[in-house]
């Protein structure tokens, strides 16, 4: 699964962030969850209890499922769907 930007959406200014050490271009106003989708990064972390090997990805998109937790600027367990991208943001995912 790898996403795409929709044509007739008005976008903010271009920003650069890094995801797992790799530079990624995005636009202000986009959520981190959306940007990860366009990059094809769907597996974001291991399941909390690690009873199963399967990874987890974003689910509800509205901040309640807590499934899209990633590390943002060194702070763990931040919800990607509730965070807008910023210039220089450093993101680490643990979806293996």
């Amino acid at each position: 699964m790898s996403g795409m930007r929709i044509k007739n959406h008005h976008r903010g200014k271009r920003v650069m962030l890094t995801v797992n050490g790799r530079p990624v271009a995005a636009y202000s106003g986009e959520t981190l969850f959306a940007v990860l989708c366009t990059e094809g990064i769907v597996a974001l972390r291991p399941a909390s209890k690690k009873l199963t090997e399967a990874a987890r990805g974003g689910f509800c998109g509205m901040g309640s499922a807590q499934e899209c937790r990633v590390t943002i600027d060194g702070m763990p367990d931040r919800r990607a769907c509730m965070t807008e991208v910023r210039e220089g943001m450093e993101v680490v995912t643990d979806g293996r």
Binding site: M1, S2, G3, M4, R5, I6, K7, N8, H9, H10, R11, G12, G29, E30, T31, F33, A34, V35, C37, T38, V42, A43, L44, A47, S48, K49, L51, T52, A54, A55, R56, G57, G58, F59, C60, G61, M62, G63, S64, A65, Q66, E67, R69, M75, D77, C81, M82, E84, G95, R96
Partner: protein
């Protein structure tokens, strides 16, 4: 945000909250809207004017205008503000996005906390690539991004068609819409058809356009399993009969990297429950909702409620109720004479009745009769996950019920179902429905698990008074 004192605190900055803030602010009340999202407007107005399309949507246009023109001298909107609890005298404990904790003191509260999606689980629903229907709409509207070029849409209810159309209009392909219920399975009563003809015509039009674009629309079809290793690869669907029984040898395998799954909605009643407001389970209203009178007052003096938490009913109903609740609060505060706005109020009340009639039909498309739902849940295999956070399977709950644990509270203790980081926001309705199916008790007789402060996941640093 420093500690604040206002006349009215509104929890939720969606259409209901905004409509109430507008009328309250224009009649001299000081209002603070506490909204947990990045931007006001709730789920319906996500993306604001940045979002392309949807300009034929009259409710959306009205809502955007409303929020852009809120009276600034009397109404303040606090975004990224999560209300963690309500104390007597009305003190609200609020966590801000920057990690600060503050207190808001107010005379009256309007709860307009909206709804979230309801799920009926299937094997593999925790795989990355399986997402809620609402997540697709949010990604499209707020960020202008489609998570995949091709998306399968499945579940139950009229919302599936709308999501599939949004994906299509954004340039995505929808190979199929698989729905447990049929659009016309429960034929709407003629009086409702006549009064809400535009809505049904819109629904029919959407179906037509989906089919024209090559989308297969399959009714009476259920997701059996989502398969994949690191992420979704294929979806197995089966046909079901009118009673919800799986038809043998009816499996179809769809190759899919992206699945939008939705089974209707459930109201965010937790804060109302914490405040002691009376709740009721009414299937036609979308399950557990806050009980209100026709002026949108809850059973707790000084606490009012509007929008999805009084009945799942959509954006237009939320606008109507927000305004009605606002007027009711003004009356109680003595800021409106008894005969002021009289004609408008009776018109709003009439409109609300029409919107409630449509809500009952909408909700009947995904709530299902008790025996239908119970049979469905009993047919699910043991390895279906119920609680995503704590990885509690249906089998674990079956064993606990067999050992005599038969309330949500007891099941939580026995299995940890609902005790994870999302605090049960995803699995609570599932657990209630599973318990009803396994014990044979009606859903209205299964007590909601109790809620405690903080009602939302919070960083310890915030509670300790520091910035995490």
């Amino acid at each position: 945000m420093d500690d604040r004192t206002v006349d009215v605190a509104i929890v939720g900055g969606g259409l209901a909250g905004a409509a109430a803030a507008d009328v309250l602010g224009r009649h001299g009340a000081s209002v603070l809207v506490l909204d947990d999202n990045l931007h006001p407007g709730g789920q319906y107005l996500r993306g604001g004017r940045q979002s392309g399309g949807s300009w034929s949507d009259r409710v959306r246009r009205r809502g955007l205008r409303l929020i852009e023109h809120l009276p600034q001298s009397s109404v303040e909107i606090a975004s990224r503000a999560e209300v963690l609890g309500i104390e007597a005298g009305f003190k609200l404990m609020v966590a801000r996005g920057n990690g600060e904790l503050s207190t808001v003191t107010c005379k009256r509260i309007l709860l307009a906390t909206g709804a979230r999606e309801r799920f009926i689980p299937f094997k593999g629903w925790t795989l990355p690539g399986v997402m809620a229907t609402g997540a697709f709409q949010i990604l499209i509207k707020q960020s202008g991004i489609l998570p995949a070029k091709e998306t399968l849409v499945a579940g139950a209810g009229l919302f599936l068609t709308a999501v599939a159309r949004d994906i299509q209009k954004s340039g995505g392909r929808v190979p199929a819409v698989l729905s447990e219920s049929s659009f016309f399975q429960q034929v709407p009563p003629p009086s409702l058809l006549a009064r809400q003809f535009a809505k049904f015509a819109q629904g029919g039009g959407m179906l037509g356009r989906l089919r024209l674009a090559g989308t297969a629309v399959r009714n009476g079809t259920r997701i059996l399993e989502a398969r994949g290793d690191d992420s979704l690869r294929e979806v197995v669907a089966v046909r079901v009969d009118k009673k919800g029984k799986v038809i043998p040898d009816s499996e179809t395998v769809y190759s899919a990297g992206s699945l939008a799954a939705g089974f209707g909605f459930t109201a965010n009643v937790e804060l109302a429950q914490l405040a002691g407001c009376g709740l009721a389970f009414t299937s036609q209203l979308g399950g557990w909702v806050v009980k209100v009178n026709e002026d949108l007052e809850t059973s707790v003096d000084g606490i009012h409620a509007a929008g999805e938490i009084t009945a799942i009913g959509g954006a237009a109903k939320s606008l109507t109720e927000g305004r009605l609740a606002g007027v009711g609060i003004l009356r109680r505060m003595g800021l409106l004479a008894p005969d002021e706005l009289k004609a408008e109020i009776s018109a709003l009340k009439e409109m609300r009745q029409r919107q409630m009639a449509f809500a009952r039909y909408f909700n009947s498309q995904y709530m299902f009769p008790p025996e239908y739902l119970a049979g469905w849940i009993r047919s699910l295999p043991d390895d279906v996950s119920v609680c995503r956070c704590e990885e509690v399977s249906l089998g674990a709950i079956r064993r606990a019920v067999a050992e005599g644990y038969d309330t949500p509270a007891a099941i939580k203790k026995a299995t940890r179902c609902g005790m994870g980081i999302c605090q049960g926001s995803t699995c609570k309705t599932i657990l209630l429905e599973v318990l009803s199916a396994l014990t044979g008790k009606p859903l209205s007789h299964i007590p909601l698990p109790s809620v405690r402060m903080p009602i939302k996941p919070t960083y310890l640093g915030t509670l300790a008074g520091g910035v995490p």
